[in-house]
Symmetry: C2
Subunit: 438 residues, 2 copies
């Protein structure tokens, strides 16, 4: 069954993903070997602290992860320690020692990927990172290999399960953000410090990686526009629904005439789109290619064994190419390193989108016409409008406007002018709208 | 940019998919080469008849497709002629001449795949067939490589766009099957002879291929249970909706204790499932792995350029492994040829499912209790029941029953007993129900 020599891996980090990887490799050893054509042997585990996940038995465990990078028997180092300082050092050490690397570390790849790939290219080794984006969904493989024939036009992803869980609960249970966040923390879906998730930083790491492999551009994480979901109010979720939309935290990468748009922000999506119906902690990525049209990839975006599933798929892929000429391997960022493009990433001011605006207006004649005039003067047309009766004992009415597509700098100018009107109270709520039509 | 020698392909067949492949290879030559690391050159085209799609210019076109299989400059033969007689001969000839093969031909692979793979294994060449299932969706790659860590538990797919279009129209426009079929034919979504699509044969070819790569079993197309959509009435679509379900033509492959279930049939699916919301000609495949949980792959299941997208992805994959030791390549059916399993495919009688039954009963007391008694005596419990008032001037009432999970042979026995009651009119309509819970 297994004609080739066993492939020896070292796993660094035995947290959620590390222990999942060890367990699945053990439990499914037979089917994995039948697919790979060789046994995958865990030669050594590097886990710095005493760890309840540590397996007993005949596995060599060291507290020094760098010992794994120095172990001459190991062909593939699996980096699952997280963070970017030690992880970067560990991965570069392994590469310099001629080892292939598999990692689930999105922050590491998004921030230090260019350096890591340059080192790996020089040494002729593979660096695989399927688990870094959308957990167990093989979306990197799909884009990098499955859509190789296409000029990718855009992609849009629900790539942070915590944010999607919170927005789903806000809609289904009509509960405010802060409430649902507490529940998410209690359920283990959100960290004690939820900033990385709810402010969109985690999603922007993943978006940068997806955009690089889609468009063949170097990683440039600092250029991703990032806006979290903390300011979404239940009332906006409700008005969106009345207009036929759902609010999702999306990562969007789009090739437009002047360059590439890269942005993570709450987004209204028509409810009839499949991706608008991706709920709870699930992830999905919608990709539009010129030949292919739209394809969508859906599944668990995190968790021990789903993420381990992608880590192991990478191990099998690397095992298959161990003896291949490096030039014949799938390139790190889908495109050959020497053919990456310098097309610019655009400023958010240059982005074109439709907008949902919620304005709190005094219940007096003429307010609406002044707002409409401001929009019209800037060439922004109105797609839909809801004006509600004031609640009892309230002298303010909410006015909800959906605009047609316009430039972000124009909508910002309109909002500034609207907020300056006496008949308007407080800040205008603005949420971007995307049709995501295939 | 392109360090390696160009890879020379011969395209046989210039119909919808062949011309799409030629056009996309030409239009996107630059991005494809930047990904593949080499130019993909169309060295020769074999097209038997005078063909309006034939490109002009410097491509060598022959009317004899076998000349392509004999052309010593060609490394990859792309079989897009369809059918199984000439196609089988052509593919075997190419393999014997040491050429790699890429094909979009589901009937060929489902029926002659074992023979073709054995020949290819002997000659050490690749045979790739991503385009054979779900058009442009890279679902074969996802299962074969992306889910390599998993023991696949089951998969369920909407893998025939024509049937899905017809069922979608029947639901949305409340129109009968025959009407919608005519429209589908006018739109080019259905053939003049629609048997292959509406009787589930096309879907069963694709299901057999998916099941082989999911479970590591040889192709055994004759064991797939196949039931078309021709007997679905608009009234069943409506009752299903009242019960919270959609009717879809699904291909289901499931690993159960005794063996493998392989079946294509109309199926009630809870409407909240993502796959229940895949409409029109779109395809989707839902796969449940033990480590991964559920993942779903969605996109266009047919069409010139979507299918070409998969053909070209295969060409790029094969180009990358041209010089690789065959043992290091991804196996044809995901598992190494010498480790395929002989687990039995079960008879439909042994399948366990829930059932939707529509019974036309005389509006007399006691009918319902007799039906309930028959089910109860067989140990079949009732999950939900709708009994309607008779329409004016009608003495029959429809009784709709959703059963809990039971064995097909028991439900068949129940139906025979129910149909034998005097108070029942005509045949009982039976549609299988699947929860598809991840």
């Amino acid at each position: 069954m297994t004609d080739l020599n066993p492939v020896r891996v070292g796993i660094c980090g035995l947290g959620t993903v590390g222990s999942g990887t060890f367990n699945v490799l053990k439990r499914n050893a037979e089917v994995i070997a039948a697919r790979a054509g060789c046994q995958i042997v865990v030669e050594q585990i590097g886990a710095r602290r005493d760890n309840a996940n540590c397996p007993t038995g005949d596995v060599d465990i060291t507290r020094d992860v760098f010992a794994v990078a120095e172990n001459p028997n190991i062909q593939i180092l699996v980096e699952l320690i997280g963070g970017t300082t030690t992880a970067r050092e560990l991965v570069l050490r392994a590469i310099n020692n001629g080892k292939h690397v598999v990692t689930a570390n999105k922050a590491l790849i998004a921030q230090y990927g260019n350096e890591i790939f340059a080192a790996a290219e020089k040494r002729g080794v593979s660096v695989a990172f399927e688990a870094a984006v959308a957990g167990g969904i093989p979306v990197i493989k799909a884009i990098r290999e499955g859509l190789a024939a296409n000029r990718i036009e855009w992609l849009a992803g629900i790539i942070n399960g915590t944010s999607n869980f919170i927005l789903t609960e806000m809609r289904e249970k009509k509960r405010p953000f802060a409430d649902v966040l507490k529940e998410a923390q209690a359920l283990g879906y959100a960290e004690a410090d939820p900033t990385f998730d709810v402010e969109g930083i985690d999603a922007s790491h993943k978006l940068m990686i997806l955009a690089s492999i889609a468009f063949g551009i170097p990683l440039q994480f600092d250029k991703v526009y990032t806006e979290g979901i903390t300011r979404i109010a239940p009332i906006d979720v409700e008005y969106a629904e009345q207009l036929g939309y759902r609010i999702k935290s999306l990562g969007i990468a789009s090739r437009v005439e002047k360059g590439i748009e890269l942005r993570v922000h709450p987004t209204l999506i028509p409810e009839k789109r499949l991706i608008a119906n991706v709920n709870g902690v699930m992830n999905a990525v919608l990709v539009k290619g010129d030949a292919m049209g739209p394809t969508l990839y859906y599944g668990p975006g995190a968790g021990s064994e789903p993420t381990a599933s992608s880590v192991i798929a990478d191990i099998v892929d690397v095992a298959r190419t161990l003896n291949a000429d490096p030039k014949h391997r799938v390139p790190y960022l889908a495109f050959q390193q020497n053919s990456l493009s310098d097309v610019p990433v655009l400023s958010i001011d240059d982005v074109v989108s439709s907008y949902y605006l919620r304005i709190s207006a005094h219940d007096k004649p003429g307010v609406l016409s002044r707002v409409a005039q401001i929009l019209s003067d800037l060439g922004i047309s109105i797609e839909a409008l809801i004006q509600k009766e004031p609640a009892p004992n309230q002298d303010h009415v909410p006015v909800i406007i959906l605009t047609n597509r316009t430039q972000e700098r124009l909508i910002d100018s309109a909002i500034a002018q609207i907020e300056a009107l006496d008949s308007i109270d407080g800040a205008v709520v603005r949420i971007r709208v995307e049709s995501l039509a295939g």
